[in-house]
Amino acid sequence: MIVAIASGKGGTGKTTVAVNLALSLSGDVQLLDCDVEAPNAHLFLQAEPAGHEVVGIPVPEVDGDLCNQCGECSRLCQYNAIAVLGTSVVVFPELCHGCGGCALVCPENAIREVMRPIGVVEEGHARNVHLVQGRLYVGEALVPPLIREVRAKGHEEGMVLIDAPPGTSCSMIAAVRGSDFVVLVTEPTPFGLNDLALAVETVRTLGIPFGVVINRAGSGDDRVKEYCAAESLEILLEIPDDRRIAEAYARGLTLVDAIPDIRPLFASLAAQIEALPPITAERPAEKSLAHVRP
């Protein structure tokens, strides 16, 4: 069972829900922190490190002795990542998406692929949680390939939680696609509502069942609840607007540890997640690009 925790708006409490849900589940759980631009779950779990791997994307390297500057590679490339300039071929690795097309179409077999590192995948353990997180190198633009590497570490069996990046663009899709259920975290404000509606549209497009968690319940207005009622969306949990929560979060404490009367809320969410119907549909396997290394 793969459950993704997502939101349109940032800062609504995805990581809070993911970490506290993970700690409230009865068995072992894998938590994949796919917010590789701002990975935060480790700050709350303080996991014992258990592995570290540099990951990258395959980019072309041209053998100047074999290349005859025919230009087939640059004709195919949709990202302007390879170009014939005079008598040589220039590669712009930071523009390359790693599709491998240039190497396939090169009639002289002059292109081989080399890995360009874009970040690391780190693993660790804390209590019942096996944490896998991606960490994008600062200055790197291309996020989905690293997310796919984190996803590729996900177990086939058992419970897998995904902490997704905010938004509704390609990064969020890379994190959420192929999951069995999505928990959309929002807050009862106009910004929260606007971005929840975008996230709902996205998850519906993906065809994945989902429910809503309202964080800081009671702080804004009732429009999120009215929207959920109008759209027949299930509200899985409401986390109250409580200064103790904000203060515990600020210090890096988990709510289930710091505030005992919050525990039943996450226990109830955990019970709902554990009671989800078993998976029937086949899902796309996330494949790591590491295997294309020549």
Binding site: E37, G220, R251
Partner: protein
């Protein structure tokens, strides 16, 4: 603010902009989402008198909820291509599935064949090129829309990225370019940019070549962690950075230490904003915090004064 002048002259400036003196851009970012970027930008827009506002958080844009724009122009954002199999011509060779590195090709049972998941297609064209029966079309992809609007606080350029769309960085670049055109046309003194969260493609597109970035953070472990990543990003692109701690009184010692960490990264500290329920009330009312007044509004005014002085160097 050292380095700003050399930056604005050394960066490539597209087309028409090269003819105008470049209007400085202040980009508000955070790393972590939900720290209050949009509330701060909306208030700055109210306090400033001659700015153009650009909402570069294109996949979860919220500024329009406060600025209530009247849209003057809307334009489709067409970017890249997507592969589409013509079922009638497909001979089920499976080549597309074999060559696709993005798991975008699905095998279907009835009728037996292949389809491409548009949400996963990266638009690389490799399947189009290698399909033995040439059965794959490669149309352009509409990835969203951008708008030029007028608001009670001045011109606003904003956008909406299509659901699950790619190329958010490119849309961010378009929004910034159009904001520069609007600023040149209006003789504006500054462009205020509401940036996206994170440090990846859209953030890089939002900050490169800007006069300065203001990092709005919060005194939490994640706020501090993500602030440091975004300050490293600003340093990487040699953009001067300032930091403002929002909701500082949730964790006063945390605010202290986050400011120390920011100084270590060479950032200027431009003030603190207290926790104040009026921030949410303003959002609910569709107003900027400074339009309602109160403690947080006073703090934001002070931060704006400091930011202006810092921008002037």
């Amino acid at each position: 603010m050292s380095g700003r002048d050399s930056l604005s002259t050394s960066l490539p400036i597209a087309g028409a902009q090269a003819m105008h003196a470049r209007v400085p851009e202040l980009v508000v970012i955070s790393g972590k989402g939900g720290t209050g970027k949009t509330s701060v930008v909306a208030s700055f827009a109210e306090l400033a008198h001659d700015v153009v506002v650009a909402d570069c958080d294109v996949d979860a844009a919220d500024l329009h909820l406060v600025l209530a724009p009247e849209i003057l122009e809307s334009h489709l954002f067409v970017s890249g291509h997507e592969a589409v199999i013509r079922q009638a011509d497909c001979d089920s060779s499976g080549t597309c599935k074999a060559v696709c590195r993005f798991d975008a090709v699905m095998e279907i049972e009835r009728p037996r064949g292949f389809v491409i998941d548009p949400l996963a297609c990266e638009g690389c064209g490799v399947c189009v090129e290698l399909c033995p029966s040439r059965a794959i079309d490669f149309p352009e992809r509409t990835c969203g829309e951008w708008f030029l609007s007028t608001t009670r606080m001045g011109p606003l350029v904003h956008a909406r990225l299509g659901i699950a769309a790619e190329n958010s960085g490119k849309l961010v670049s378009i929004v910034r370019n159009e904001a520069r055109n609007a600023a040149a046309a209006n003789g504006s003194s500054m462009i205020l940019v509401d940036g996206p969260p994170g440090i990846g493609c859209p953030v890089i597109a939002a900050v490169t070549g800007a006069a300065g970035v203001l990092v709005v953070t919060e005194p939490t472990v994640s706020g501090a962690h993500d602030m440091e990543r975004v300050l490293e990003l600003a340093a990487h692109f040699q953009i001067p950075a300032a930091v403002c701690v929002n909701r500082w009184d949730i964790n006063p010692e945390g605010a202290e230490s986050i400011e120390a960490r920011a100084r270590n990264h060479g950032a200027a500290i431009v003030g603190r904003i207290r926790y104040d329920a009026v921030v949410t009330r303003a959002q609910v009312a569709g107003r900027a915090v400074v339009e309602l007044g109160g403690g947080a509004a006073d703090d934001i005014r002070t931060v704006w004064d400091h930011v202006q002085r810092w921008m002037e160097g």
